[in-house]
Subunit: 303 residues, 2 copies
């Protein structure tokens, strides 16, 4: 099993600092009335691993001299979609979660109506940012065809994410098999993680570049691996480490990989998925250091 | 005061039939698990005046031989955003409305969780459709620059709509002046109506065409006029005619134009806004028949 080497942690830490700054810049570009502004800020800035934007950056870094502004916009947009989904997920009519990343959730602080609207506007803000000139300080302009591809990827993944939510709700208290569970997670979590990678990919590679299918394969496996690891951590980690209520899956009789195949087999499955992900990256050789480091970090993470 | 002539009603009826068919085609293009599929269908297909898509079509018809597929996608997309906003608006944590267009609202039929998710996916579906090849039967292809403009307009209007909701909630039970009330409505209702027009406009006119500012002016005034008329109807129409609970604004002490300036002055103001809208359309001469007919219909409507 991999461990978090200082190098791997550093790569993610650098990406996190960059995205933190870019998220702040992006939020400041919007004129939003209070208390919605504070709720949006709360939903976006209370931390998190920033895995999706980090993957977007790292994918784009496979090719030097890319349109960095378009990558930064994509990274911000995908994280805003993720944050909207969390704000809505935590609502009383959904998971009714009071704690997220060690902080009170959006609806606890701002009320249900404002938390709902914060999620709603975060989704449209994501598409606004994609189509904007944000970060475009060299006035290099935006290739409309690239933005269009980014939008198609993000919108499709956002729809899939909602479908995954529904499949997940439908499966509660039911016995599902591995195929059904994977279908849930490929939609619910996998689609947006893969989108983060593919938005980076289409920004720097042309449609016919053999890098594209390799990155799609990487995205599919790492997205699923992320969810398997999440399920494992829900059992093995404490609420304190996790920053959200641990053991919640078992409590609501959610189907998880450890419940389905046992903890040890689930851990082996996560490792196996990561191995597949690294195989896809092998195509890029040394260029994929950043993606490799983030993948190692994801497998070894404790929260 | 204008009355609904058969010609005006026919124009809207034709547009409504077209959008109804296009909405069905669009929904059928998505693979969505139940019960979300049924909830999305309920939210979209339970009727409504289809004012926004009708305005989008009519604007594009100002110029013959336009990219009709791109206009149809824009019309569907703007209506899906409108339908998402209604599904979320009706939720218990918002207006808690049980009746919409004479039918039980989405959360009454499908539960709060599914109604929330239906709204969420409708928003991403709107952007998916914009970036798709739907209706593109002549394989004429999509000009990415036009789609990008459509997306920018729709995303910005969607964000403004949410801001308007917040301003509206903040104003409940408070005395607001006309400037504040207009600010609420320009965001809450006006932005999306204007977006419907501008999405049609950018599809058929180049950025430097003098038609663009004229249509922006038309959109601004007709959007506000629509809301003033809505406020008036909330007082003058019955629940039966309206298809939603009448008198609701007064009940929750919402600031409205009749409350602010009295019913008669509000009616005169609506007429005045329409006159301004028609002035903007004068630039297009006979070409603007369809937009004129829809505008007349909106002013004379009883629900």
């Amino acid at each position: 099993m991999s461990s978090i080497s200082p190098v791997n942690a550093d790569v993610l830490k650098q990406a996190q600092q960059r995205i933190q700054q870019d998220l702040l810049t992006a939020l400041a570009a919007f004129s939003i009335p209070e208390p919605l502004k504070a709720a949006v800020h709360h939903a976006v800035m209370l931390g998190g691993k920033r895995v999706r934007p980090a993957l977007c950056y790292a994918t784009a870094s496979l090719k030097p001299n890319h349109n960095f502004a378009a990558v930064r916009r994509a990274a911000v947009a995908v994280e805003l979609i993720h944050c909207y989904s969390l704000a809505h997920d935590d609502l009383p009519c959904m998971d009714n979660d009071l704690l997220r990343r060690g902080q009170p959730t959006c609806h606890v602080v701002f009320g249900e109506d404002t938390a709902l609207l914060a999620g709603d506007i975060l989704q449209s803000m994501a598409f606004e940012i994609l189509g904007s000139r944000l970060f475009d300080d060299q006035a290099q302009g935006t290739d409309a065809a690239i933005v269009l591809k980014q939008m198609q990827i993000l919108a499709t993944a956002s729809s899939k994410m909602v479908c995954g939510q529904v499949l997940d709700l439908q499966a509660e208290g039911k016995q599902v098999d591995q195929t059904e569970l994977e279908n849930i997670h490929r939609n619910k979590t996998g689609a947006l993680i893969q989108a983060a990678i593919m938005m980076g990919a289409v920004t720097v590679f042309t449609g016919t570049d053999p890098a594209i299918p390799k990155l799609r394969q990487f995205g599919q496996t790492i997205g699923l691996a992320f969810q398997v690891q999440d399920d494992i951590l829900d059992i093995t980690a404490s609420t304190e480490t996790l920053g959200k209520t641990a053991g919640k899956d078992e409590q609501v009789q959610k189907s998880t990989y450890p419940a389905l195949m046992g903890l040890e087999k689930a851990q082996a499955y996560a490792q196996n998925l990561h191995d597949q992900a690294f195989e896809a990256l092998a195509y890029f050789g040394d260029q994929a250091q950043e993606l490799t480091a983030i993948s190692h970090f994801l497998l070894a993470r404790k929260s």
